[in-house]
Symmetry: C2
Subunit: 385 residues, 2 copies
């Protein structure tokens, strides 16, 4: 099935102004809010239907649904909103229910990834609440069940994530079914899933293999991980998915990627900085969690490239230690700052952001989608949580 090539709508000037007019900003805000409202309704309706399916099997199964619903009720909806604005930039109808459904599919995919990621990273909290495996461990304790509570928590979280992953795809298939861009969107969706799982594997593989690998390549390997684990999945693919569903052709999708991929890389680098320097009160995760997990981030790569032998040895000894306390984290923060690794990372964020915003100017969408993508991009790279 080859979708028809899509041209920008007549009201979408190819040279959108660098600064969107104020009425475009106001219009995008109202429209963005309306979309998030429809997204929530779509998610809620879908999960209500699944609740009925699970209740029909056994009331004992409902904690699975509750865990997915609780996790999926939070978050900034970044991926769904990027999908919506990619759809709108490619001329999609704001009222078409398919785009809210596709956005809900992305949110459930994100939930599935978070549930399994938290098992892998042994994270106790997520979005300020217990992670899903901890939630089920808590259920085990509250019900005074037998045998191994933490193992029950992990087993339940693996299954909840699997369920969520299936549901995500079920929603995506329903969203795409009636659209002319279904085949191209399906290709984006399939690639997105493979790439994020491979990226996560490279991340954990880097944690165990990284110390033995050459120092010169450390920054590049870390950049590869964030490209596949995060940048493509959190930003590039959502924008491309929305545009493809609206019928965008390959050149239009390439213009989306030129904007969204460097933006996604800047987004994840910001995440890496927050993973070491972020305030637990705003991030909802313990201070320095990435150090405790032994993540081979770009920050760590820059220390290995720029630090003294003593600094590198100190960081290597600490990376992956589950028992780092607040003082250790403070000491490592000072080390990462002193050797210039923090500044080098911030400079990279700036360079990638600059690239993204320049490509955005060449996207050639209407003033309202342009204002929206600019605002989402700014929030993604300047955030504190």
């Amino acid at each position: 099935m080859t979708p028809p090539p899509l041209q920008p709508r007549p009201d979408a000037p190819l040279d959108a102004p660098l600064d969107a007019p104020l009425d475009a900003v106001a219009a995008f805000r109202a429209e963005d809010e309306r979309f998030v409202h429809r997204l929530h309704a779509e998610l809620e309706e879908f999960l209500d239907r699944q609740r009925a399916v699970l209740a029909g099997i056994s009331a004992d199964a409902l904690p699975l649904l509750d865990a997915v619903a609780a996790l999926s009720s939070g978050g900034k909806r970044l991926r769904a909103r990027l999908c919506y604005w990619g759809w709108r930039a490619a001329g999609g109808d704001p009222e078409d229910p398919a785009v809210a459904r596709a956005g809900a599919a992305l949110e459930l995919f994100q939930s599935a990834a978070l549930i399994h990621d938290d098992v892998i990273d042994r994270s106790d909290t997520r979005r300020g609440a217990p992670s899903v495996h901890r939630r089920f461990e808590g259920l085990h304790a509250a019900e005074s069940w037998q045998l191994d509570g933490p193992a029950f928590g992990v087993a339940s979280a693996i299954l909840a994530g699997d369920l969520c992953l299936s549901w995500s795809e079920q929603l995506f298939a329903a969203a795409a079914a009636q659209l002319p861009g279904a085949a191209r969107a399906r290709a984006v969706f399939d690639l997105m899933r493979s790439e994020v799982m491979v990226g996560q594997y490279l991340d954990v593989q880097g944690e165990v293999a990284g110390a033995g690998q050459d120092r010169a390549g450390a920054v590049q390997r870390a950049l590869d991980v964030i490209r596949y684990k995060s940048a493509k999945y959190s930003v590039e693919h959502p924008v491309a998915l929305g545009a493809a569903l609206a019928g965008a052709d390959e050149p239009a999708l390439a213009r989306c990627s030129a904007f969204a991929l460097p933006l996604g890389e800047a987004f994840q680098l910001r995440d890496d900085v927050l993973g070491v320097f972020g305030d637990p009160a705003t991030t909802g995760k313990p201070a320095g969690d990435d150090l405790r997990e032994g993540k081979r981030t770009v920050l760590v790569g820059f220390v290995r490239r720029r630090g003294s032998e003593e600094q590198i040895a100190e960081l290597e000894a600490a990376l992956g230690s589950q028992d780092l306390d607040d003082d250790d984290v403070r000491r490592l923060r000072a080390l990462i700052t002193a050797c210039g690794a923090l500044q080098a990372t911030e400079e990279l964020i700036d360079a990638l952001s600059g690239q993204a915003f320049a490509a955005l100017d060449r996207l050639g969408a209407g003033p309202v989608p342009m204002a929206a993508l600019r605002a989402l991009a700014t929030a993604a790279v300047r955030r504190a949580a």
Copy 2:
């Protein structure tokens, strides 16, 4: 999209003979073999394409592909073959590549379920080889990587299972895309995934909560678990999926279920008997593994209903102990036999098989699909591995 109602082909008598003529048996064997050959080609071609995708990201990611490919090269192909014969019973064209693709999707779904199941059950082996998490733990050791090898194994297996689950769906979507029965088949596929994950959750939940639950309901709860975790997914849904893809209508799908659901229950009960009484040399799993995992099977349910207080207490004390040795397993086998639980389970297998074979006689398909389904059904309930 409402598929056209499907009628049996003119050459398919509504009253198929109880014993298929010998030429039908020979014809099904040749056709079954041809299908398995095409199934393997489809799987291989798909995995080769995914290998190229992964290699394009990083050569370090290839162990994920290798693990999935190794696991998916084995097995009896029961689900794919049931899907094929469901398709044929509903009048599907033997040469249509879509059915081999759908079969490959089921095989990858099975691989995904096995990978995560082995993590959950802490199983060391699968199909006579190390389970996927053990395989990655072995890679960690072979490469002398740092940090926690078992944790790396579990993380990798979670991600390999996720990848496999996504690939399964990707293949299913490709198979269904061009078929008139796509919408009804999609409903079967979606329900199958939810039900098996919920069934697995009820299984692990039963392991931790079961001892505290009432004895009278133990057999019924165990039957609920096998219905959702196994019977529907291993037998009923594959047959229904094939028939739906071929365009079967709801009454035809109901006739498939009347045959395939009791057959699936008998199949899983046979599995439960083998999980305690099976020979490790033929099952590829350690003797008495289900006891060590604390599975609340129908066998256990019958002991709780029929055993003496001493027998029940002895079994309860042993269930879920990781350190049961061969003598313990022999003792527990004798207990399960002595109190009549084994015989009660065998009688249930016989009753369900009888129900299945009677419904098969009413399926009203052609002589070749009838001979095939009869042979697969017989193998499913009489097997030793």
